[in-house]
Subunit: 198 residues, 2 copies
């Protein structure tokens, strides 16, 4: 199972070309084939032609293979919240979420596979929920740091995440959903319509 690679410069090394992507691909294939529960880190490493030790250099456990990208997305969201000091809170949140949408758009196949793995496992579904809740909290903190009042900051973030989640679900589950950011904009438009005076 252990594999020593001679790298391009001829030295024996534990550095592995493209190790993270190889591990991620191997993990996803196994999660889909035999299920998340039934897959071990040893299985993933073996399939990727890498060692368990290399696996743990990239991921803290087999669950993190599914969640490591979330941190990058959250950084993106928070960074974006700082850019436009004059916009309304919900517009700031909406445009930050479109930044995340743009990044995700490039990975629809992987997003669909990932969703399939998550949907098959209640514990992973809970983890996904907690991830999104923590995004809302972090965005809300970022808005507050910009001077947005507390209930407004929370309301904009929580509502934004709800809208984003619905758009994301359509994007991964529907057969020909079109562009993710278009779906995000549609969901925000539906929210505005739903809350308009009648």
């Amino acid at each position: 199972m252990s594999l020593t690679v001679i790298t391009y410069d001829g030295r024996m090394s534990r550095w592995e070309p493209n190790a993270r992507a190889r591990l991620e691909n191997a993990a996803m294939t196994l999660y889909l084939d035999r299920g998340f529960e039934q897959t071990t880190v040893a299985d993933i490493a073996e399939r990727a032609g890498l060692t368990e030790r290399t696996f743990f250099r990239y991921f803290s456990d087999k669950r993190e293979v599914l969640f490591w990208g979330a941190g990058n997305l959250l950084d993106l969201l928070v960074r974006h919240i700082d850019t436009d000091p004059d916009a309304a809170p919900l517009d700031i949140v909406a445009s930050a979420l479109e930044e995340a949408g743009a990044l995700l758009s490039e990975h629809r196949d992987r997003s669909r596979e990932r969703q399939q793995v998550i949907d098959a496992n209640p514990e992973l579904k809970e983890r996904e929920l907690i991830k999104l809740a923590s995004w809302a909290t972090t965005m809300s903190d970022a808005l507050r740091q910009r001077g947005v009042a507390d209930p407004i900051a929370k309301l904009a973030s929580e509502t934004g995440i709800a809208v984003f989640r619905l758009a994301f679900e359509r994007w991964v589950y529907e057969d020909d959903p079109g562009d993710l950011n278009q779906l995000i904009r549609e969901s925000f438009a539906e929210l505005r319509k739903m809350t308009a005076p009648h």
Copy 2:
């Protein structure tokens, strides 16, 4: 630790007057005093002057002491969603949440204690989050059964739960928050203001 009670009619019996409330009070005192993790079912039963067996007749585990009421609230929400077929989805959700608010209003002290226990334990915080997400899903299903289109049903429920949660947080954390349903109405008003064209 085991205790046999002579009930008011003189028979030896395992029926215990007001057992659920006694167990709940005992549990809450211990959770607040020594922490949720450090409290066992045996501790709770002993403090309530009841047996562990009696405890398990009412609660499946020590966590359920904090969550058994959620089922009643959810029933109330869903029942209410069926009452007014002509109202707009978000109004139906808002008025269902006010039903829940009215019920909770009678238990502010207990709600505050419960929140304190939950806030001190990450696992309980996750459970609370999952509870609220399942309320949103169940309300959304109920709306769909009434013929509300899918994205609208989800959007109204998720947004409603976000609004409810913020109002509930103000109600339990603030010193003199006033009426819970007043806070729910204020949060909905803030949502409408936030989403209005500008």
